[in-house]
Every structure is written in C-alpha cells, then in structure tokens.
Symmetry: C2
Amino acid sequence: MDPRRLLIFRTVARSGSLSAAAAELGWTQPAVGQHMQRLEREAGVPLLLRSARGITLTEAGTALLVHADAVAARLAAADAELQDFAALRTGSVQLVAFPSAAAVLVPPALAKLTPALDVRLTEAEPPEAVAQVLAGTADVGIVFGYADDPPLPTELVCLPLASDPLRAVVPLDHRLARRRRPIDLAELADERWIAGCPRCEANLRRLTTAAGFMPDIRHRTDDYVVVQRLVAESLAVTLLPQLALTAAPAPTVRAVPVRTEPRSIALVHRVEHALTPGVQALVAVLR
Amino acid sequence: MDPRRLLIFRTVARSGSLSAAAAELGWTQPAVGQHMQRLEREAGVPLLLRSARGITLTEAGTALLVHADAVAARLAAADAELQDFAALRTGSVQLVAFPSAAAVLVPPALAKLTPALDVRLTEAEPPEAVAQVLAGTADVGIVFGYADDPPLPTELVCLPLASDPLRAVVPLDHRLARRRRPIDLAELADERWIAGCPRCEANLRRLTTAAGFMPDIRHRTDDYVVVQRLVAESLAVTLLPQLALTAAPAPTVRAVPVRTEPRSIALVHRVEHALTPGVQALVAVLR
DNA sequence: TAACCTTACGCTGGTCGTAAAAATA
DNA sequence: TATTTTTACGACCAGCGTAAGGTTA
C-alpha cells in the first residue's frame, strides 16, 4: 500500500468530496480521483461511495481512516521531532577534551549554549580523544598538537582554536625566575626535569635535542597540579603549556617565557557532522 | 515529509547499508542514496553517518527510526484489515426484506454464509426498503414489484430473484375451494375482500378493474396471518402471494391458483456495492 | 444551472538505472 | 582488491493538468 495515497484518502474522507480534497491539496479533481481509484483497486474493496453530493465512506473506508489518521499523526510527530533537532530544542553532543582545555575553555563556552542542548563532557588525552571521535563515541574533540604530528584521517575535520605557548616552570628562587625576556631552552640543560604525558615527553625530547642536550628526567606525570608542587619544592623544572598554568595558577612557582614552538589547540569532529546542528552549535561557541 | 522515503530510510537503517537496503528493495544503490539525500535535506539534519562499512544512525536518525517503525506497523495493520474485508473475515451487511421474504428466503441463505460476515436483518415493505438502500441505511434490499411499477433510480442495481404467483385464498367450504385449474378473478367479483398494504391494494384494484369489477373491500391488513384467520371465518376472500402462504401455511383456508400476473421478487443494492465483498457474498447466497 | 463525478489524453518531472570516480579497510 | 560510497546523466513512466461528457439535485 502506497502511504501517500493513504494520506490523500484521509484528506478526501475528511473533506467530504474529491473536489474539496483537491482544492485542499492544491490539485485538480481528476488527480485525486485517480489516486482513489488506484487505492481502491489495490485494496480490493470499495472505500468510497460517490454521489452528486460528494462521497461517503464504506465500512472498509471507515476502518481505513483510523489507520490513515494514525499514520498522519506519526508523520507529524516525526517532523516535529526532526525540527526540534534542527532548532536545537533537543539533542545531545558528546564532547571530549584534554584536562586543561576541559578546565579553561569548555565551561565558559557551554555557558553560552542553550541549556536545551545536552552537552556531555569527558576528559581524554588527544590520541584517545581522536579515537573516540573516529569511533563515534564522542562527537567533538578538543585536542592539542605539536609541530611534527602526523596528519589526521581525512574522515575528520580539524579546526585550529588557538596557539598555546610553552612556559618554563621554575621555583621562585631559581636563577631564571626573574627573567622577563624569553629564555633559551639550553639554559635549563643542567636541571632535573619532569616529563608529562608520552606525547609531551616526546615533544620535550625533540626540543631539547634541538637545543643540544638530553634532559635528566626524574619524574613523570601529566597532572599539572602535581608538576607545579614538585617544582615549588625545587625538585625539578619542566615545560608547561600556558593553558595548564591558567587552569591552576600556582604562586609558588614561576612561569618564564621560553623560545620554543607553541603547541596548537584544535577541535576535531567527523566530516559528516559538519551539518549536525548540535555539533555546529558547540563548535561555534568554542571557536 | 514524504512517507515513502521514511519507509526507505527504515529499510536502510535496519539493513545497515545503502546497498543492502537497495538489494532488499530490488533497486540499485544510487536510487536509495538519492532518496536518503533528499530525506536528509528535507529534514535539515543528518540522519546517517556513511562509512566504508555501511551506515550508522545519528541521534536524529535513531529518533526518526522509531517513528518509521510505527508508520510501517500501521500500514501493515491497515493492509491486514483491508484484506480481512476482502476475504470476508470481517465486515457487516445491513439487509432489509419484506416480511414473508424475511421469513422464507433469508434464513436458509444466511445459514450458507460464513459466520464471520455479520449480516443484520430488518423488515420493511418495498418502498421503505428501497429508500433505506438509497440512503445507505441498508446495503441490500429484498423487494417485490408489480407489472407497472416505475423504474428504480439508476443508482440502484436490481437483480430478479423469483416470480411469486398470487393465489386466491378462500374458506375451506367455499364453492371454489376444490378447483384444481386456475380460476378467473371475475369469479370472485361478488365476494367481500381483504386488502393488504397500499401497493398491494393498488395492484388488486388494477387486476379487478381488468377483470371487470370493483372489489368490495371490507378489511385492510398486510399481516398474512391475520388475513388467513379472517378468511377462515368466511368473512372475506383475498389474494395472497405464494411466498406468504409458504411463510404461514394455514390448513383452515384454501389457496387456489388464479389467472393473474405474478409479482416479481428482486434484490436491490447501490451500484457501488457491486464490488463490496460482503454485499457480493450475500447476493450470491440469495440468488 | 450548478455541483459532483468520470474518462481520455498529452506533457512534465520525479525517480530509477547505468557508468564512472572516490574513499576505506 | 573488494566493498562501500558519491556524482553525472539519460530514459522511462507515474501522475498531474486540460478538456469533454455524464449524472443528480
């Protein structure tokens, strides 16, 4: 059974005549008549009793009208729900961000969004975040990247958000603590070091190699609060991105500008979601 | 929203890929793809996430699938119900018949029908029965007609069922009670008469006029039981159709063949109901 | 007459198929 | 390579409009 004809039948049944239904549909009388003929032929049962005063439903027609009404109601409900998605009156977006972005960038962005959009935040370091977006576990990811990162799969869209400079973090009484001009990394060649997550450590090694030394790594943690406490006790120095320092500013350490390439912060999502209203809205407030 | 595309979307969602859906529908892949593109454009929201392993539903797509399933279920229910009507597993027919037909012709006919067809009998004399069928209050009418009746409206179909000869009904001790050969109406010119319903009385007057006399009408009733009791008491004679005598055979009177035109018994229904299974079935067992 | 219905027929446009290219595993 | 997708384009037929005819109130 062709569902379009069922809806035309509904219009005919409710309006009382083929011509009235045609007017309602913006068609001509024969167009509606042909549809009803085909519907009745396919049904195998007369549905309408024609007369010069319009139409009356047969018993089968009356029964069919109930179903037609139900179908029309469902279609209207489907339409309304899709419009809710399109107008951001409903829908949810899974957002995954690395910790300091989750702390600094995400909350003010979410505050700008309509509360009808259900954004759910989880934390993950970039490699895992990208994997989640690829797998569909997350819709939008906030990640950071270093200069020589491999390119992302073409399935993903990458929107640069900001450039995040690295700072050298030293104790308050360090000899470089009061320097205003950017220092060279080589000036920290003889320090003890704290390394962060694997990618950050790889980046650190790349930078120090370029600066001509091998860092003496004593501790490893990607927790920027712990890092700063270790530095405060003069146990080591480290490089931290400005974002992490903004997330947890510690008066017990000193962040000194250093001549290194900044890391880049970017937003990723699957290409198909370029038109998904929820993703679109979230991307818009994050940029 | 085009309901056909909703059903195609349902097939796609359930089969997991455009190509699998196309195979299921007996179409090609691009045909399905074009439908989905249009559906998404009209929806204003992406519904499918395409990949090389097939498709995944977006959140909006998942919501839409629920409605699509509901629509499909309703369409199936509508189809099933129409087939029930077509196969006489359901449905009802309003039958209106004049009293003696209701007594003699209808019961054995109904006994031959499937009990799933709900036939409802009411009694009415022909003029009213025809009016009911015209108005749609009844679907099938059993009526009788005389030679010079006006033609029926073209909106009605008339199927002759039988020819019903008239009998002269006289007391057992009447001088004509033992006659085997048909009598002439003129032989009853001097009797007292009982007339029936208005149409029957008109027919009686037409016949007697042709036979050359005016009947001395003493009583009027269309109840053929009452008629026969009156005759049994030798209060009058009358003409009764054979059908009425079959309905209520009375040993206390004598029915003698008489040379008159018989009345005709016919079945009427609206032309549109020629294809209605219930009407068709009822007509078939009544013929 | 006016309103409803059909039937007949021409033309448009939706929609399906074919063919080729692109992307992923 | 095999399977998925998309895009482009051609052809067909469903379906709408126009026009004419029939029936009832």
